[in-house]
Amino acid sequence: MKVIFKIWRQENTNTKGNFQSYEVDELTEDMSFLEALDHLNEVLVTKNEKTIAYEYDCREGICGQCGVFINGRAHGPHDNMTTCQLHMRSFRDGETIVVEPWRASAFPIVKDLVVDRSSFDNIIEQGAYISAKTGTAPEANSILVRKEIVDKAMDAAACIGCGACVATCKNSSAALFTSAKINHLNSLPQGKQEASKRVLEMTKQMELEGFGSCTFTGACEVECPEGISIINIAEMNARRTKAKWIG
């Protein structure tokens, strides 16, 4: 299988980048997308050219490192999938595949396809944790939580912080990510004590980091590898209003 990769190359945050095309041969349909990029880098090494910088860690859809924009979609052509789960069989032989870094003012480009997602960490630091010392895991039945609430909290907790929601959003809004973190903790008894503070401070930080506001286009929930629903954003809005006016 042969494809033409058209990849965004940029030396560092302050330089201007541009696209470069690479014809890559000797691929198979069973290769993952990242393996195809690995292969391209090996070829570049043998030619003594600069390799392409891109991020990954787990390669099994759980770490959230591998985000890139592929042919106009976050994480490639499929819904709800990470880049590392994407395979070359999703492309045609001879196809040109355009690969771009996440685009958001709050995610400055570090190099080529790698962006700095520290703005997510800064939001997390404003309260996506509980500050009580919990010791070792307590007996499971000592704090009872209704099944529907556990399910909802777990669904929100699935967020892997990949940034696809921000990348695909026309406003680069971090509302899906932030709402997932807030609803995860604020739904559970352990998170209740700091619930108001959490929602106010995390949403404030989200604004300070330069993310846009939510227009409910719904693009984020389609690209989110964890299928986190935009209803979370509406719920975050309700929690924020309650925290602000009632406490």
């Binding site: 958001a104 026309k170 406003n171 846009g212 939510c214 409910f216 719904g218 209803i231 509406a234 309700a238």
Partner: protein, 217 residues
């Protein structure tokens, strides 16, 4: 960002409410000439003379102004959050064109509102341009203003066609406003999506067809 978006949502919902009343009143226009004229003019006179409606009218003007100003501020701010876009972006595969273009649709609606106010409000309320006569009962003949405007096919086309962007703006706007204001009931949102579609459809079709009916009367 929360304050701004809440203002857009609250003023937007108020405008949505206003449109229902406005369309109900305008449906008088499709009645036979003699009935429509008397009814429309007396209704319009009653409105103009009511102190309560005066207050509502000011809230309405304020809503339009606030909605537009904050919508522009939010849109500019959102652009700043994404300084550079993608070379290839297949956003149609993950979201509707309408939801991606609320600003553009809004500007089109604004264009409509400006022309619409110049056609009616400026003549009737401000007394600008050609004077407006009285009907046989001594009411200001608003019906005639409407009727004569819609004898001009360009105006009919303008009024009818621009109801398409209005309908689209309302379809996404109504759903979005509820979510902005924190409505997160799952089943309720499914119903809301249908209600938004029906509401936007009735508004676009209703307002859009009246000029055509008046033209052929």
């Amino acid at each position: 960002m929360y304050f701004r978006k809440s203002i857009i949502a609250i003023t937007g919902l108020f405008l949505c409410l206003f449109l229902i009343v406005h369309l109900s009143a305008n449906s008088i226009l499709v009645l036979p000439q003699e009935v429509a004229r008397g009814l429309y003019n007396s209704y319009s006179t009653t409105l103009r003379e009511s102190p309560f409606i005066k207050i509502v009218a000011y809230i309405l003007y304020l809503s339009i102004v606030l909605h537009v100003i904050y919508a522009l501020v939010v849109t500019v701010n959102n652009r700043k959050a994404k300084r550079k876009g993608y070379a290839v972006n297949r956003f149609r595969e993950n979201s509707s064109w309408t939801s991606q273009n609320m600003g553009l649709l809004g500007i089109t609606v604004l264009l409509f509102i400006v022309v619409h106010l110049a056609n009616f409000w400026a003549r009737i309320k401000l007394g600008l341009g050609e004077g407006v006569g009285l009907d046989s009962e001594g009411h200001v003949d608003v019906y005639k203003v409407t009727y004569s405007l819609f004898q001009n096919s360009y105006y009919v086309l303008f009024y009818s066609l621009l109801m398409i962007p209005l309908g689209l703006h309302l379809y996404h706007g109504l759903k979005s406003a509820f979510m902005t204001l924190g409505f997160y009931h799952k089943k309720g949102l499914r119903i809301l999506a249908k209600v938004s579609l029906i509401y936007a459809g009735i508004m676009a079709l209703g307002f859009g067809i009246i000029p055509i009916i008046v033209f052929f009367k």
